[in-house]
Amino acid sequence: MLGILRSMSVTAKVMLTRKPVTIQYPEVHREIPNRDRAFPILIWDEEKDEPFCTGCHACERACPVECMTVVMKDNPKHAAGESKRRKIIDEFWIDYGRCMRCNICVEVCNFEAIGMNNTWAGHELSRYDRSQLVFDLDQLLSQSKAGKVDPGLRA
């Protein structure tokens, strides 16, 4: 009997004294830490006005789930003498449907050209079709280009 009364007192106490822990999600977004890892995005080099990525395939080789496709090209800005990057990324696809967000691409990148999106935009990616989850270069760069994201982990 005492145990039963104790159970009832716990629920009553919670009802009277404690506040609900709910976060009303679509309106209120929980603050996510700086190192949050959503999905990898490419980083935009503001100074040179081009991506950091040189298309060296390091991330593509290190990816455990092979979700990346990288195509490299000669950098036209290098020919014009505006940039030190001899090669630059031409096409880049990441299949977010396959990506397992392990951060390995970020770790192996020698140019700090790829980072994990640490904003809510990186989490709210639901689509009606899987093919829409394959992000191309423009989509991967858009966030960083707009200055909306500064990945915390770029080891």
């Binding site: 145990g3 007192s9 890892r37 392990c102 951060n103 390995i104 080891a155």
Partner: protein, 375 residues
């Protein structure tokens, strides 16, 4: 006059298919129960719905890539799984893990034990029929723990934070303070659950003398973890074969007397208290700074040929990684000894003779993770 016996009136045993879509099978587990009224006569478990060939996949991955798969295999005690894998590779490569990394590993693994046992306590209460109250008391506290994990590793669930030789990156500056804060929440959640369930007479009536398993049978079935300790075998890898730096802490190992569902519950609740104590000791001893990876860390991990078995005390029991290497950067063969699979094997013997409702309780008390059973 002799009455003809109508075969339609015979009492027959009824097979019932429970799962894979059933609210209390904790994932896609299917058991075919044969019941006589409410009593269980026979039980046939069916597993394999979640089989993804993780071990085989990891053979095609190098030692860094494989860590992400450890998380996905044991998704409630990710750090324990990562730790076992890293220990195996480290042992093969004969790497010395730096002091600070060891402490952070222990802190995170024990916090992971807390979060895993919170999951157990919540789900077990629901199995017993509490209308989600235990769940809602346990889960906010688990969420606080996961917030710390997220701050440390960047992800709420799939941490991929341990690395062979140490850690992927340094913990945030306010790590110690955050852990202290979260432990307060955990203690509160533990108290809530304890008050709600432990002494509740209905809960006791539902749990006691259900699914009793003797020490001999438990050993014969290869049970481990809380299941084994509830049966009265004082076997805890942290105590008997200390790995990492577990020989530096004072703690107590709870051991049950009856081996029933209630003892398993009590053992887990007590383990949570001990985990809090271990974390506090570890925070005290944690070196304030220092390297988190060995100084002479090779850029590309290559193991010498050989084989190794590393085991850790995961929340569910002994999590072992058996690794064969023929040299190179990938395992030649990898086998995970998952506690859920071995514990689940005892389900049939435990359940027969009990009521239908008890089958749910017994399965709940095993605290299985189906990903870890099927791998």
């Amino acid at each position: 006059m002799v009455l003809e016996r109508d075969p339609a009136l015979d009492v027959v045993d009824m097979p019932i298919n429970m799962g894979p879509q059933h609210p209390s099978t904790h994932g896609v587990f299917r058991m075919v129960l044969v019941v006589n009224g409410e009593k269980i006569v026979d039980l046939v478990p069916h597993i394999g719905y979640m089989h993804r060939g993780g071990e085989k996949l990891m053979e095609a991955m190098d030692f860094r890539q494989g860590i992400g798969y450890c998380d996905r295999t044991e998704y409630l005690a990710q750090f324990s799984a990562e730790l076992a894998y890293c220990l195996a590779v480290e042992r093969l490569m004969d790497l010395q893990v730096p002091e600070r990394a060891e402490y952070i590993r222990v802190i995170l693994t024990e916090m992971n034990r807390l979060s895993s046992h919170f999951m157990f306590a919540g789900a077990f209460g629901v199995d017993a029929g509490v209308f989600a109250t235990s769940f809602t008391y346990a889960f906010p506290q688990r969420e606080f723990l996961q917030e710390v994990f997220e701050e440390v590793s960047g992800d709420r669930l799939m941490y991929a934070y341990f690395r062979v030789g140490g850690l992927a990156w340094e913990v945030p500056d306010n790590f110690v303070q955050r852990v202290h804060e979260v432990l307060v929440h955990s203690a509160q959640g533990l108290k809530d659950i304890d008050d709600l369930l432990t002494k509740n007479e209905i809960f006791m009536a539902r749990c006691q003398n259900i699914g009793s398993f003797s020490a001999q049978r438990a050993i014969a079935y290869g049970l481990s973890g809380p299941m084994l300790r509830a049966s009265g075998v004082p076997w805890d890898l942290r105590k008997d074969e200390p790995y990492s730096i577990y020989d530096r802490f004072n703690f107590e190992v709870p051991v049950g007397n009856y081996g029933d569902v209630y003892d398993r519950y009590l053992v887990r609740i007590e383990e949570m208290r001990q985990s809090i104590s271990i974390i506090e000791q570890a925070l005290e001893q944690l070196p304030p700074d220092g390297p988190i990876v060995p100084e002479k860390m090779p850029r590309r991990l290559r193991t010498p040929p050989g084989e190794v078995y590393a085991k850790v005390e995961a929340p569910r029991g002994e999590w072992g990684v058996y690794l064969v290497s023929k040299g190179g950067d990938k395992p030649y063969r990898l086998k995970m000894r998952s506690p859920s699979f071995c514990n689940l094997s005892a389900l049939r013997e435990m359940t027969i003779g009990h009521y239908l409702a008890d089958a749910v309780m017994i399965l709940g008390s095993m605290d299985i993770v189906l990903c870890d059973v099927d791998r």
